[in-house]
Symmetry: C2
């Protein structure tokens, strides 16, 4: 075998690179046995999957909801029964946003009476039904049956103000923020419809999430700058159903707050077609009138809890490894993948260690963070609290990308530590973990200061944006084996860090 | 950086090993661009996913069914419209097995009349309903309403003979073949119930399939050796629903053929509990009588077709690269993952090359193999046919492990060729392909002789044995992005082999 200097250099670059990295260390047979037992036990016991089933039965766990309080009580009770070294909670205050009961977006068509000369009043309304436009008698509301006449499917964006009754207006479709800026004079008094599609052609679906979610987060204040009355966005979703996806938005103090809602992808496509047909006079309707009604509102503040359980280290008690997910979720689903999965996986790490008689050298602490979705109160709060005299946070692992099949770990640490961790890959062979590389970790754990390594568990991302922040995020969308392999992978990583160290 | 000789040796071992392999070659920017375009186009156009939707609409495609003939005609027509260099079919004869209309497995309980002394006749029957055992009047069939009284869910195993009316018998539960052999004197005249569970604790679910499927394939003749009347197996499935999974069986000429059916997993668990309770006198029933009825049968032979389309190579026309899946499926689902997915991916390879203006140097041929499920007539037939004077098969790639997210390629070839192929991994970075290693290819392509490389596409296996050979294998169980990434990965592999060669 001939390895030239250049080849060696390439070799080293690859070994420390992102594609396929491998640091060569001696494999410890004891720990190889541990990791095989961990995987086998996770898949066979399905502890996390069973716990997730119960957790999801409470419904979505938004801060301020009864569901959340019941789910917190349930989880604390479950964990207390498991016999860990300590269980405790931390309480924080956060914003109490309510979706309310009303979320409607409807269109009504008006046709001017051309036969009755001299009158410019409309003769009656037309409503867009399943069979096309149907005439309705004057004065009849377009949506007498309580359903949107056009089937537009919407959900208020989290944090949005309500419409304070029915908000009527023209809709202007805008493709992106540059177009918004260049058409700023046309925006005033209108409902801005940001129809920015999810880029399909990308392997890592989180890369497509970034550009699209910008409209959900910043669309309202950007449109309000130019006098818009309200905004609608196309849901940030990778598939083509009509389930709207919610999430947070940002208002800017100096700019008026306007209502914001997300349309299901099919509804967004239909609305776009409708506007295009009307622009080309192909609807046979003289005027379209849109009505938006949302009664969402913020009702002061509410308390939320971080739920924490730990196994003390056998040798280095004061060095803490946090494993976490966030306990809250959006209200529209059951918070199964986002992030019930990460929570039950974190508890399962402790369960597996206890069940298999593994005594970690460093302290292992599962943290179920409160209120990641609309405030990050739990993550910020945990990050800013004292953790006891002489204690340090040695490492933290977050699982908040769904309960899908494991692919790798993203590590926010020094190149030396990452290379060292890549040497552990053989221990992960039977979990689906194929790589360990440099990358961001997670919203909650990144609030913790002075940690040697922040680690993001990376499951496969193909199906995440089908369920994310939507009514699709239910227990049934989680696969048992995929979830459990994630638990196994995180447990093995925790054990490696605990016992081998960086 | 210090690399000792031992480290280097380790390095080389790892580079040629199975976990994480990386051969270092210069990356050709043109081909990197090609591969990125291929992935992007697959995900954006969703050609294969759309074709699969249509293909699945015909229903299961078992040899001898009308569904199959219609689906073949549809597919040939679709391919002919696409403008490839040639499209042709090959016709073979295979066994024409029919499931029939009746598939029932029921239990009836009998209680002897203890109050009426001197009589040993049964007073009446008891049927096991949702509320436990209910008394029925004498002579009333336990299943008067046409539904199994106990809710046992079954499907005949493909190739099984029927029961020729109702087959009554005791059931003996057997855990494995050793137990069968050691209890051979208890088998005669009974229905043998092989209750062998799917081993959950294994990452690669195909490793658990092997031991479990042995009972489906060989259970009937093994039990018949000892005089069994019929067999039931626990479905070979990784989840816990009650959908029975079919598949083929093997009869041995010198041993009587007996009927064979698969129970849904829940039904198998329930049957086992029932037998255990009865053995422990916990049912309050004196005798259990089981009835099995299947009218499945073999009706001679039927014709099936291989469907073949190709793009001629621009430089080495006579060197053929086959990409294939099998066109037939079991009748109980829609053959979506198994193996509609492999078929549409194979056609999509040609579609993507044509759409992107890629002219492969070697000839690329998509083969949709007939009758893999119950005869392998298409694979055997293709393997034995002349492929034209001077033509050789250079390589073959099979996709028959479902339309799930890509993980790697198993390669049946020389170590040198495998190492060379590992050097192509960077081209696959955005498809989910993380490894290329030594391994088996697939049932159909392994019939082709004198090929330099036989390659099995390996998607993630976690959800495969939920759907495999069952009514769960429908279009809705396929994820668009997962399927399309598979198409992209296979297309890139085809292009690498075509243009770089081994």
């Amino acid at each position: 075998v001939k390895l030239s200097f250049i080849t060696l250099l390439f070799c080293i670059l690859f070994l420390t690179g992102t594609i396929k990295s491998q640091q060569l260390t001696e494999i410890d047979t004891n720990y190889l046995n541990y990791s095989n037992k961990i995987t086998k036990t996770a898949l066979a016991d399905t502890f996390g999957y069973s716990l997730l089933r119960k957790l999801c039965s409470f419904g979505g766990r938004l801060a301020g909801s009864d569901h959340l309080v019941k789910a917190e009580d349930f989880m604390i009770n479950e964990i207390c029964k498991m016999g860990f070294d300590s269980v405790f909670t931390q309480t924080f205050s956060t914003v109490n946003w309510k979706r309310g009961e009303i979320g409607k977006f409807e269109v009504r068509g008006t046709k001017f009476d051309t036969e009755q000369q001299g009158s410019s009043k409309s003769e009656g309304g037309w409503t867009l039904g399943v069979d096309g436009w149907e005439k309705i008698s004057e004065g009849t509301p377009a949506t007498g049956n309580g359903q949107p006449a056009t089937g537009f499917s919407i959900a208020a964006i989290g944090g949005s103000i309500g419409t304070n009754g029915v908000l009527k207006g023209e809709v202007i479709e805008i493709s992106n923020l540059s177009e918004l800026d260049s058409r700023k004079d046309e925006i005033k008094g209108k409902i801005v419809f940001f129809n920015f599609p999810f880029e399909q052609g990308v392997y890592n679906s989180f890369e497509s999430y970034g550009p699209a979610v910008n409209y959900r987060v910043n669309g309202a204040w950007r449109a309000a700058q130019y006098g818009a009355k309200a905004i609608l966005i196309r849901s940030v979703a990778s598939n083509f159903d009509d389930v709207p996806h919610t999430g947070t938005l940002r208002y800017v103090d100096t700019i008026p707050k306007i209502p914001a809602a997300a349309l299901g992808v099919q509804s967004a496509v239909n609305l776009s077609k409708l506007l295009e047909m009307q622009a080309n006079s192909k609807l046979g309707i003289d005027k379209l009138e849109f009505q938006l009604e949302l009664d969402c509102r913020t009702e002061g503040f509410t308390n939320v809890r971080n739920i924490i359980a730990e196994i003390k280290g056998s040798e280095k008690k004061n060095e803490i490894i946090v494993i976490g997910g966030h306990f809250d979720s959006w209200d529209v689903g059951e918070g199964a993948h986002d992030d019930g999965a990460g929570c039950v996986q974190s508890i399962e790490v402790l369960y597996l260690m206890k069940k298999l008689g593994i005594k970690p050298k460093r302290t292992v602490r599962a943290v179920l963070f409160a209120n990641e979705e609309n405030g990050l109160a739990g993550g910020r709060g945990y990050g800013s609290t004292s953790i006891g005299e002489g204690n340090i946070h040695y490492a933290a692992i977050e699982s908040d990308r769904g309960g899908f099949v494991p692919r790798g770990f993203d590590v926010d640490s020094t190149p030396e530590i990452i290379v060292r961790m890549q040497g552990w890959l053989p221990y992960f062979e039977k979990t689906g973990i194929d790589w360990i590389k440099k990358g961001g970790s997670g919203a909650d754990i990144s609030q913790i200061k002075d940690v040697k390594g922040l680690i993001g568990f990376v499951p496969d991302s193909q199906r995440y944006f089908i369920i994310h922040h939507s009514a699709n995020d239910v227990f049934n969308s989680v696969d048992m084996r995929e979830l459990e392999l994630g638990s196994a992978a995180i447990t093995i990583m925790t054990l490696m860090i605990s016992d081998f160290g960086f």
